[in-house]
């Protein structure tokens, strides 16, 4: 009996040790052989600068092994040890957060060991991430859906992701909204109390506008703009929204990136929230030019946008004329008191740039303007390579963000509220699916190697056939729940129609 008790005790101790190892107290075997290279991992987080409030950077080890041991350590605090028989490495949330919080401005080091088929342990060179002292806005709002060409039906939604954890909330899904479409969504200075999302055929077409606690469906079509408004930009004061109104045509290539598109016509309009009125100005709607992608300066005194000369749409496919459509970056002065525009000027011409400008976004401190450069047109994500470029608004110097760009397309970026981070969409993984990437910007405008939005299941991107569109950083969660937003979108009878007012 005594012997059995002893055996049971020994077994229990062994079990506890094994469990403890599994819970993160195990270590590398001492006889592990060094491999002299870092492990291959997916997503590639090695060397990225990360915010101190980001969720754990879970990853897959792409080295075949029977068992993996990972140590995540910093100068301060206890290391996190993970033992896994699967290559999927999931870092526990609480110790990770504690580690990052204690080591702001420091570095986090990740050491990986793996046992091969013979049971021999291999130790890879560790890789490091610098932990920035700058936090990032804690929530990210994006549209997630299958890669969209021309038609859609299922699986489109607007989601809010807490990027400090892995919690994802569905704000709107098109299956609840008659298979309609959502596109551009925008927040006023990264705040969740002033934002809008554009809806198409849900059954109504218009914008779902949230101001304060009130959500209203607004039909922005007026006698001036027959087409509904898109590509929104909130004036920092929160009472104006600049939009582009356009008619787009898609076409397809036989080689390379298949999709392509151009705006047949486009103008900018201004929507005044308190008056529910739409207006424009000759500077924003020149019949001889096409204006798109508005972006406000943080002081609200300038409206930046892209502008290209008009062209003959009947000959656009002759001799590849569409390749000659190139957008300049221009700006126009704005007086919020009178809502008048004046003093249109070119900031960066397409000919000087040697390409076309799209998606301008000014940093919250007003120093930098981040835009996307592509060979032609205004759809950089439909190019084989659309690159992010930083324009120093003080010196007017252009800075190519080599650390950020890939051989594929980048675009649809937004700044964090403190201006130290930006998030952007990139098709770098396979040319089809866009994923949100984050990059840190130092005070001199240097952007760091970006990292993809971490997921609880690190293999998620390897089987997910959806794209993440228009990632927007938000400082707090959106208070309106999915139900309220859905109901507001469906209640056409409670919606309002914007009126056209030549002057405000």
């Amino acid at each position: 009996m005594n012997r059995y008790t002893k055996a049971a005790k020994s077994f229990a101790v062994a079990l506890l040790v094994a469990l403890a190892a599994g819970c993160g107290t195990g270590g590398d075997p001492k006889e592990a052989e060094p491999v002299r290279r870092p492990p291959r991992i997916e997503p590639d987080y090695a060397g990225a600068v990360i915010p101190p409030n980001i969720a754990p950077l879970n990853f897959m080890v792409l080295e075949k092994a029977g068992e993996y041991r990972v140590e995540v350590s910093c100068a301060q605090g206890s290391p996190i040890r993970i033992v896994s028989r699967k290559p999927s490495i999931r870092i526990p949330l609480a110790p990770w957060r504690e580690l990052l919080a204690r080591n702001r401005g420091g570095a986090v080091r990740v050491s990986v060991s793996a046992s091969d088929e013979t049971g021999r342990w291999l130790r890879f060179d560790p890789f490091e991430n610098r932990i920035s002292a700058d936090s990032i806005d804690g929530w990210l709002v994006y549209r997630r859906m299958p890669p969209l060409y021309r038609f859609w039906k299922k699986g489109m939604g607007i989601f809010e992701r807490n990027i400090q954890t892995f919690e994802e909330t569905r704000l709107l899904e098109n299956e609840s909204l008659n298979d309609g479409c959502f596109n551009c969504h925008a927040f006023c200075r990264n705040r969740p109390d002033r934002w809008m999302v554009h809806l198409r055929r849900v059954p109504a077409t218009g914008m779902l506008l949230t101001v304060g606690g009130q959500t209203t469906l607004v039909n922005t079509q007026t006698e001036f703009n027959r087409a509904p408004a898109g590509h929104p930009a909130w004036h920092p004061g929160g009472n104006f929204l600049a939009f582009s109104t356009y008619k787009v045509r898609q076409f397809f290539h036989a080689t390379g990136v298949n999709r392509d598109a151009y705006d047949m016509v486009s103008d900018l309009i201004l929507y005044r929230v308190d008056a529910n009125a739409v207006t424009s100005s000759p500077a924003l709607a020149d019949p001889k030019r096409m204006e798109t992608y508005p972006a406000w300066s943080p002081d609200g005194k300038w409206l930046y946008f892209c502008s290209a000369p008009g062209f003959d749409t009947s000959t656009v496919f002759l001799d590849e004329n569409y390749r000659n459509i190139r957008y300049d970056l221009v700006r126009v002065g704005f007086d919020p008191e009178t809502a008048r525009f004046s003093g249109l000027e070119t900031v960066l011409s397409a000919s000087d740039l040697g390409g076309s400008v799209a998606h301008p976004r000014v940093s919250p401190d007003g120093r930098w303007l981040l835009f996307c450069r592509s060979g032609y047109g205004n759809f950089p994500l439909f190019r084989s390579a659309g690159d992010l470029v930083m324009l120093d608004l003080e010196s007017s110097r252009v800075r190519w963000l080599d650390a950020v760009n890939s051989s594929r397309s980048e675009g649809y970026h937004t700044w964090s509220s403190n201006g130290r981070w930006f998030v952007f969409s990139s098709t770098r993984e396979d040319g089809i699916h866009t994923r949100p990437y984050f990059s840190h910007v130092d005070p001199d405008g240097n952007a760091s190697k970006p990292f993809v939005l971490p997921q609880e299941d690190p293999s998620r991107y390897e089987h997910e056939l959806e794209t993440y569109n228009i990632p927007e950083l938000v400082s707090a969660p959106i208070p309106q729940g999915s139900r309220l937003l859905t109901e507001s979108a469906l209640r056409q009878d409670k919606g309002i129609k914007a009126k056209y007012s030549p002057s405000m």
Binding site: F151, H433, H463, L465
Partner: protein, 602 residues
């Protein structure tokens, strides 16, 4: 019992051999993934469980015999449960024929290929709930508790079938328990429950909250069938209740007391109802279309040609797939006019609206044609409109693999691993992705890669002739592009390019000029009235000239009256280009064109 067995054997055979559940799978191609996210989404919406199980079962429908077994099993279960229900509310009254009605209604609904099996599963769930409610004892409290629990469950599992449950439960209260107030309460709660669910639990619109899971659609034939199906169960109380308490006396009740008369009459009624249900609901046009589509997806080209020859369909999609089958069997330019070409070029190349409504079929066609990037485009259009169905995932994986976008291919294969039946395909394709030498040996991959465009051009929906010319220019060995280009000219009665087509034909080292091309050339020379035939005329087989002389003779016999000669012409020469040319409205256009371009051949 014997009658029931015979009924369901016939039922099974009808579903298997006539309706063919494989075509439901073809039409619906439902998404079902062994993936926690997918299953969680299913369980978090009303009617989700029924839809999820239905999606799984409909995957099994790809084996028609299994599908027929499942449909029959569900119908049998529904019949048994209905029988029990009638006995429960009719105080032991044993139904003779009435309990078969839901099965017959299922048969009618199942004849519509967009009909979701989840409707039948929803009905099963709710009839089960009604049975439980009816059999709950005499305690009012217990009945209320049971009603609330089963009501909530039926809304979650089967959606708006809850309304049927609620109505049945309130009728049961009012008629069986004589508790009219409780019946009214049950009715009110039933009406409120979807609203409460919409307000407090699920995110869905008001219309959806009250209709989700029910089969109301105008596409059913007859339109009343879904209403009869849904309304059947509450109506049972109006039938079985009075029967049970002896108020309802059916005509001829005395005769019916004889068992054999009863059996014979019941069998006769059942057979008559079965025949009516089958004949009013079956849609042969849709069946044919889906059968052709089903065979095309599985590359059963001979089967398509058999269907096309037998049924002479006027559907444009059938014409398109028939022409595709003719190409794949090497007969397009020899036999295309043996099949209906009433749609002209639209039956050859997919018209715009067809591509939009059937993107995966457009992707298939583009792949055949060597337009790989467009094949990928349409595969992803299909993904956006129909979701992650196995066939769409297969196509996305394959085109990405063929284009060398291995990472994108791997993503699709990883998702395909989560499907029920396509894991093995994913494993095999992953091997091709990992080993370029192996991929190069795979005939499908090798063909697609060999035809990858070397230079960019713009693709437009409908594949205009210029696109086919570009494909041929970049890859003269692209036989499909070539044959379709020739067929396009033949269908358009545009014959001026025939000499160039003949020159291009040398690439393929054919033993003889295809029959329709010979016919077209003879017609062209005849229309131009050239006295001396060009050297190429020697390549045309003598029997072709002989046939042409015969057709002219027939026409002469009718005094040159084409319309009078039409019947005989169709009988003897209906499979020739000449017949198509003579009775095609574009002939006048051709004549003026030929006159303008006279001498083009010399």
């Amino acid at each position: 019992m014997m009658r029931e067995a015979a009924f369901f054997i016939l039922y099974f055979l009808y579903v298997w051999l006539r309706i063919n559940p494989g075509l439901h799978n073809q039409r619906q191609d439902p998404v079902f993934l062994l993936d926690s996210g997918f299953l969680r989404d299913c369980l978090l919406r009303p009617s989700g469980p029924a839809e999820c199980v239905s999606a799984l079962f409909t995957q099994l429908f790809s084996l028609p015999v299994v599908g027929a077994l499942l449909v029959t099993a569900a119908a049998w279960l529904l019949t048994r449960m209905t029988c029990s229900l009638i006995q429960a509310i009719g105080k032991g009254h044993k139904p003779k024929v009435a309990h078969f009605l839901p099965a017959l209604l299922v048969l009618m609904l199942q004849s519509l290929y967009t009909h979701s099996f989840s409707v039948t599963l929803g009905a099963l769930t709710v009839v089960g709930c009604i049975l439980l409610q009816v059999q709950t004892g005499s305690s009012v409290l217990l009945r209320i508790a049971c009603f609330l629990a089963l009501g909530a469950f039926s809304y979650w599992a089967a959606g708006a079938w809850l309304l049927v449950f609620g109505l049945a439960a309130s009728l049961n209260e009012a008629l069986a328990h004589r508790h009219r107030i409780l019946g009214l309460v049950f009715l009110s709660v039933t009406a409120l429950l979807p609203f409460i669910a919409k307000q407090a639990v699920f995110v869905l619109g008001a219309r959806n909250a009250y209709l989700i899971g029910l089969p109301f659609s105008e596409t059913y034939h007859p339109r009343i069938a879904p209403f009869l199906f849904v309304g059947f169960f509450p109506v049972l109380w109006l039938y079985a209740g009075p029967v049970a308490i002896g108020r309802l006396r059916l005509p001829g009740a005395k005769i019916l007391k004889h068992d054999w008369v009863h059996f014979a009459l019941g069998t006769l009624v059942l057979a008559g109802l079965g025949w009516c249900a089958a004949s009013v609901s079956f849609n042969p046009r849709m069946h044919r279309l889906l059968q052709v589509d089903y065979d095309a997806r599985r590359e059963r080209w001979d089967a398509i040609l058999r269907v096309a020859a037998r049924d002479r369909s006027d559907l444009i999609q059938v014409a398109h797939q028939t022409n595709r089958a003719l190409f794949h069997t090497g007969r397009l330019l020899d036999d295309m006019f043996a099949y209906p070409q009433i749609h002209g070029t639209a039956g050859l190349l997919l018209p715009r609206e067809y591509g939009f409504s059937a993107p995966l079929q457009e992707s298939d066609f583009c792949l055949d044609l060597g337009s790989i990037n467009e094949s990928r485009h349409w595969a992803y259009e299909a993904l956006s409109t129909a979701g992650r169905t196995p066939w769409i995932l297969k196509r996305c994986a394959f085109v990405n693999l063929a284009m060398g976008d291995l990472r994108a291919a791997e993503r699709c294969l990883n998702m395909l691993d989560r499907t029920v039946f396509f894991h093995a395909w994913a494993v095999r394709t992953r091997r091709l992705a990992a080993d370029s030498a192996l991929a190069a040996k795979d005939p499908a991959v090798a063909r697609a890669r060999a035809l990858l465009p070397s230079k960019d051009y713009l693709s437009f929906v409908g594949h205009p002739p210029s696109e086919l010319d570009t494909l041929i220019h970049q890859h003269p060995e692209n036989r499909m592009a070539f044959e379709y280009r020739v067929a396009l000219d033949l269908l358009d009665c545009r014959l001026t390019d025939l000499p160039y087509h003949l020159l291009r034909m040398k690439t393929f080292q054919v033993a003889a000029i295809p029959r329709h091309l010979e016919e077209a050339m003879i017609a062209y020379w005849a229309m131009l009235k050239i006295r001396e035939l060009p050297a190429v005329a020697r390549l045309v087989r003598p029997e072709r000239y002989q046939r042409f002389r015969e057709i002219n003779r027939v026409l002469t016999d009718y005094g040159g009256d084409k319309q009078a000669a039409r019947a005989e012409m169709e009988r003897r020469f209906g499979d020739t280009f000449w017949y198509y040319l003579a009775y095609n409205p574009t002939i006048e256009r051709l004549r003026s064109q030929a006159l303008q371009e006279r001498g083009g051949l010399e």
